[in-house]
Symmetry: C2
Subunit: 195 residues, 2 copies
């Protein structure tokens, strides 16, 4: 296939999505983030909220216990495993179909050896991310730092469970960027220039 894909893995609150959108705009290609959820919802029949949460995160607690106790089962799989297979299929089809940016959802792992990928990881300090999520999503009862640490943990565990590799290990990406120090627009420029 002649398509070139950029995958953006990112810490919650690091602005990875914004970087993906901005890089895609500069390059004149599509960026799939919430659009990916649309496509997965269409194909799977699962609810948007479920996909947004469970397509990148383990359950809140006792992930393994939850997996075993999953009361719903689709085609003999737990709902989360079913979501994983649909998500994987949608990402593979996208990469087959067009050059684009794909944000999150283990696309870097799914497309390994299957597409010409530029694999990007975006991160930032807890303080910078806390500031950013309060600005973007507003205050909650829980402190932003606590929300971030919980999100990080669930995302890391999800990634490890489905890919058996480590999320955020430099060696798994072509370029890793600290968006808090370098700035979001600067990161988007680097990503677009490396394409």
């Amino acid at each position: 296939m002649g398509n070139r894909i950029i995958t953006i893995s990112r810490e919650f609150g690091s602005g990875g999505r914004t970087i993906g959108r901005s890089a895609a705009e500069k390059l004149g290609i599509a960026c799939y983030d919430s659009e990916l959820i649309e496509k997965i919802a269409e194909k799977s029949g699962l609810a948007h909220d479920y996909i947004a949460d469970k397509g990148e995160y383990t359950a809140h607690s006792h992930w393994l216990a939850n997996a075993f106790a999953a009361s719903r089962s689709i085609n003999g799989m737990s709902t989360q495993d079913y979501l994983w297979t649909v998500q994987r299929k949608v990402i593979l089809e996208l990469a087959e179909h067009e050059s684009c940016v794909i944000v999150g959802r283990c696309a870097d792992f799914i497309l390994t050896d299957k597409a010409d990928c530029l694999k990007v990881f975006v991160h930032a300090s807890l303080a910078k991310r806390a500031e950013r999520i309060v600005g973007v999503y507003g205050q909650r009862d829980e402190s932003p730092e606590k929300r971030l640490l919980e999100k990080d943990k669930r995302r890391r565990e999800y990634y490890r469970f489905y890919t058996d590799t480590e999320w955020g290990k430099a060696q798994n990406y072509h370029v890793c960027l600290d968006s808090g120090e370098l700035g979001i627009e600067r990161c988007a420029e680097i990503v677009a220039a490396l394409y």
Copy 2:
């Protein structure tokens, strides 16, 4: 201090030193790599070879056993701990004195909160690094892959022992680059542009 420092941490064989030299040249600043060894030798009285090997690597095997059994002792410290303290001092003085690139020797950790740093980590796949070290250092009896895995392990352990943080974890650097995929000159351009 008004100096700006680039620290380059790198996997053995990834071309991090060449990237550091090239970026420094573009920026018209000095790059300290073997020059660092000179300075440390001058200050410590230790041999060049000892500094080159033990200033970034744990001993070949049984690192802790070796540490406890260290027969030589300088100012009540093991030789390796003495080397660490001199190395640390030399790096702090350099950063105080001029803007420059410093390759390896945990400079990223040593200068945290002490200088205005751009922290870079350079890595590449085992295959690309193996090809590179055979080209640069020639064939040895041991396979290049085995040499690399041993070097990686000893460097990772040294870093963990003296810094208590993880070598090659994306979150510890401002930018991480896969020199095998992006190319050495491209990496040097990115580093210089981010300065």
